[in-house]
Every structure is written in structure tokens, then in C-alpha cells.
């Protein structure tokens, strides 16, 4: 199926690949530059969730630089060139390619009903939905589930491990990175033998994702006092939510107190605490059931 989908793309992709190569070189130059420029706060690494913070911040800067030079411009071109229905079609198609992984991971997590539903979704959307272009299954009441092997590991009891920013892929954890490795095997795209077709699909998919973010990233830059921390904490919360399928148990907030402590209590503290130690360390996600 993917062969048929991709047959239309190579011509357009040639220029995109060229663009990518040229800007890729520029981005690599930026790598050395920006990696040296990342501002790392003095207490970096004290947050128990993020012992690799120093490394992560450099990698984060690298990704930001790469995005600015390569991915974001491509996404802007993508949005300007392709009509909205085509964008939606591609987006749905890429999402459909994830259904086998959703089904398998649901099965591995012991959620048989959801797994069967995912198989049905894949069957319906690939056929009636014209290779995933239309999400017919959702309109039929077959709900989409977002599962991946990182979540499966979490359900099996594997903790997050340290937060980790990956080159290109962005925020992750040690556990989710291991999951990503397994995911790449499940990714239908990686089964395609023709390297240029495979890379084209991967490239267009990445640009398509990025395009959907164009308006959002300005907002994050505005809303965040520290973008790295904002994205890290958002990622960790989001993953925990996914592991618990949207209904994680509430974590106790030690500072949620109606009553004010006495002045003495405040003075008894030796000094302002380090940022890292000030948050309640979230427990590693536990099996959902």
C-alpha cells in the first residue's frame, strides 16, 4: 500500500532532499556553535528526574537550531504548497501506519478489546479510507488509541529512567528510547526496501508533523519562562497520562495548603532550595492495572 502512496512523491521529494542536504550542512555547523551556547543553570542535574540535564540542554539547543534552519522552513513550504485536504490526507495516512503498532502494544498490555479495535481500524481505514487518507473508522465509533512500546514497558513496570533529549527526535526518557528502538521495527515505513522511498516517506512525515506545530511553537516560546523545562515537564506529564490511558492517579502536592505556616517556619529554612529538589519527585509510572 505504501508503494502506491509514495509513487507520486519522488519528483517533489528530489527538491526537498536537496534542500534538506544544503540546510543540513548549515545545521551541523550550528550544532557545534549552539551546543556551546546552551545556558545550563548551575543547579542542573539536581532534579531527580533529569540527572543528565546538562547534556540534555545542549542537545535541546541543537534540536532547536536544526529546527530553525531545516525543519521549520520546510514545514512552512509544505503548508504553503499543499492544499489543506492533501495535508489532512497525509496526516491521516501517517497515523494509519501506526495502527499495527497500536494493536500489538495493546495486546502486549493485556488490552485485547482495544487491540482488536485497532486491527479493525487499520483494516477499515486502509481499504474504505483509501490507504488511511480518511479516518472512516473514527466516524464508525472505533476510537483511536495511542500506544507505543515505551508505554508497554511502563505497564510492565519499567520506570522512566532519566529524562533524555535525543538528537532529531527530541524529548524522551531512557525507557521511551528503548521503546523507540522497538517501535522502529514495528514501523511499517521501515519495512520498505527502497531506501529513497523510505527516506522520502520519513521526511514528509516529519515535515507534516512539524507543520501542524507551526502556530503552537510560538505560543510555547511565549508561555514558557524556560522552554527546556516547560517541554521536559510537559513531556513527562503527557507520557504518564498516556501510560494510564488518560486517567493517572493524582500525585500529592506537598505545598497545597490553605493555611499559611508561621513566620518562624519560613525562617528555619537555611536558604532557597535548589530548583531540582523543590518539586515532588513523581513516582515512576506504575502499571495501569
Amino acid at each position: 500500500m505504501t508503494g502506491a502512496m509514495s509513487a507520486r512523491w519522488p519528483r517533489e521529494a528530489t527538491s526537498m532532499r536537496w534542500l534538506r542536504r544544503v540546510s543540513g550542512v548549515a545545521a551541523l555547523v550550528l550544532l557545534a556553535f549552539l551546543a556551546g551556547c546552551a545556558t545550563v543553570p548551575p543547579n542542573a542535574g539536581q532534579d531527580p528526574r533529569d540527572p543528565l540535564e546538562s547534556f540534555n540542554r545542549h542537545m535541546f539547543e541543537f534540536n532547536e537550531g536544526l529546527d530553525k534552519v531545516v525543519l521549520k522552513p520546510l514545514a512552512q513550504v509544505y503548508g504553503a504548497v499543499l492544499p489543506v485536504p492533501v495535508q489532512e490526507c497525509l496526516s491521516n495516512g501517517f497515523s494509519n501506519l501506526r495502527e499495527p503498532s497500536n494493536a500489538l502494544n495493546n495486546l502486549l498490555q493485556g488490552k485485547g478489546g482495544e487491540s482488536v479495535s485497532d486491527v479493525c481500524r487499520f483494516a477499515v481505514n486502509t481499504t474504505v479510507g483509501l490507504l488511511g487518507c480518511f479516518d472512516v473508522a473514527s466516524r464508525m465509533g472505533l476510537e483511536k488509541h495511542r500506544e507505543d512500546f515505551g508505554q508497554t514497558l511502563a505497564v510492565w513496570g519499567v520506570g522512566n529512567g532519566p529524562f533524555l533529549v535525543l538528537p532529531l527526535f527530541g524529548p524522551s526518557t531512557i525507557r521511551d528510547t528503548a521503546g523507540l528502538g522497538v517501535e522502529s521495527v514495528l514501523d511499517v515505513n521501515f519495512w520498505i526496501n527502497n531506501v529513497s522511498v523510505r527516506n522520502t516517506i520519513f521526511g514528509v512525515r516529519t515535515v507534516s508533523f512539524r507543520h501542524e506545530l507551526l502556530q503552537a511553537d510560538d505560543l510555547i516560546s511565549e508561555a514558557a519562562l524556560d522552554k527546556y523545562t516547560f517541554i521536559r515537564d510537559g513531556y513527562l506529564q503527557r507520557r504518564r497520562n498516556l501510560v494510564y490511558d488518560g486517567n493517572p492517579p493524582r500525585e500529592k502536592d506537598p505545598y497545597d495548603e490553605e493555611e499559611e505556616p508561621t513566620a518562624d517556619e519560613g525562617k528555619g529554612r537555611p536558604g532557597p532550595p535548589a530548583a531540582g529538589s523543590d518539586v515532588n519527585p513523581p513516582s515512576a509510572p506504575k502499571p495501569a492495572q
Binding site: 532534579d47 516529519t206 502556530q215 505560543l219 511565549e222 508561555a223 506529564q237 499559611e260 535548589a274 518539586v279
Partner: protein
């Protein structure tokens, strides 16, 4: 790849909260303390969506307009004070009443300002209520909703509300699993740790001024 789509959904979801505030023509929802929290959220959400559809200036993210409407309309239903206190965490104890007022004011301004820009992304969405579990005596509840676009994936949008004398008040919002308060805690703690409470107030104020200047330019 990191769940990139999520970020767009976050924008839409939080925009709904801000816009909920912004429903000017809509009759005031639930003035009475006796209105159930899930009913409050449902009515507020529906009003927001109707208002966005009807009000082009609002949908285009006119900051001043959103800000004014939030001040007038959202305050009855949102406890920004509690939201700020929770986000500031330990630093709140060190803060004087004046500092607390400044923190609350600046945080509110930041939220309204940044999210007003997101309003243009909310179009023909609908709100679907999730399962609601609460006992009669509960003072703190979770109201679950999904925002359903005409195309694309549902957006999980949950609220925490606290029962106060004046009725139920929203003090935290969760978009796709990311709680707003939680997502600011570490950043705020970092600022307090580096420059004290005044440092945090300054960071927030500077950011708000930057954004205001950028919008003018």
C-alpha cells in the same frame, strides 16, 4: 517522534479555557453556588464555543479584547490566586501579600496573553463530557471533558474545581494529560531559587512586557 500533535491540541484546549472566560454575550453561567461542577464546566464550554463562532475579533486573538473579557467574565469561575499559589509552591510561603498579589497578576496576564493567540485555532469544535464521579460532600472534584474537532483526534481537557463560598471555581486545567499548574512548578521554583520571589516576579513582568512590545511592533 515526540507527540508533536499534542502541542497543537494543547493550544486549542487551553484557548478554550481562556475563551470560556471571554464569552461576552453569553448569559452568566451558574451564578449560584448550588450548580454542580460538571454542569458549570459543560455550560461554560458550550458558551465558549458558541461565542468563538459568533465573534470574529475574539477568534482572531485580539489580546486586549480577550484580556478585558477574561477580567469581566472568567474571574467568577477561575481561582487564579489558588492557581498561582500552587504553581509557585514553596516560594509562596516566603512571599509578602504584595508579592503574592504581583505574582497572581503577572501569571494571569501571561496566561491570558499567550493563550489569546491560540483562539484562532478553535473553530467548529464540540465538547463531550467524560464520566463524572463525585460524592455529595466533595469539596474538590475532577471534571473530565473531550473537545471534539470536526476532523482529527479528540482533545482531552480536564478541570479541577474547588468548592468555595461563591460556588465552584476552576483552579487547574489539564490538556492531554498536561496539568497547567504542574507544568509551571519547576520553572517557578528555579526562578525563586535563583533570584528569590522578586526574581520570579521580575521574570514574569519582563516576559509580559516583551510580549506586549512584540504585539505592538
Amino acid at each position: 517522534m515526540f507527540d508533536l500533535k499534542m502541542i497543537k491540541s494543547v493550544v486549542i484546549g487551553v484557548a478554550l479555557l481562556a475563551a470560556g472566560a471571554a464569552s461576552s454575550q453569553a448569559p452568566a453561567v451558574a451564578k449560584s453556588a448550588s450548580v454542580a461542577p460538571d454542569v458549570l464546566v459543560r455550560d461554560l464550554s458550550n458558551e465558549v464555543l458558541a461565542t468563538i463562532k459568533a465573534d470574529k475579533a475574539l477568534a482572531s486573538g485580539d489580546v486586549n479584547r480577550v484580556q478585558k473579557l477574561v477580567d469581566e467574565k472568567v474571574l467568577p469561575y477561575v481561582d487564579f490566586g489558588k492557581m498561582t499559589r500552587l504553581a509557585v509552591g514553596r516560594g509562596w510561603r516566603q512571599a509578602t501579600p504584595e508579592q503574592r498579589a504581583a505574582l497572581t497578576r503577572e501569571f494571569r496576564t501571561l496566561l491570558v496573553r499567550t493563550y489569546s493567540g491560540a483562539l484562532s485555532q478553535v473553530k467548529d469544535h464540540k465538547v463531550e463530557m467524560g464520566p463524572f464521579r463525585a460524592q455529595p460532600g466533595d469539596m474538590d472534584v475532577l471534571v473530565r471533558t473531550n473537545v471534539v474537532p470536526s476532523r482529527g483526534d479528540k482533545i482531552q481537557l480536564d478541570y479541577r474545581l474547588e468548592k468555595q463560598d461563591a460556588g465552584w471555581k476552576i483552579y487547574d486545567v489539564n490538556v492531554l494529560g498536561v496539568w497547567l499548574v504542574e507544568n509551571y512548578k519547576t520553572q517557578f521554583a528555579g526562578e525563586v531559587s535563583a533570584g528569590g520571589v522578586d526574581g520570579l516576579i521580575k521574570s514574569l513582568t519582563d516576559r509580559n512586557r516583551q510580549l506586549a512590545d512584540a504585539k505592538k511592533a
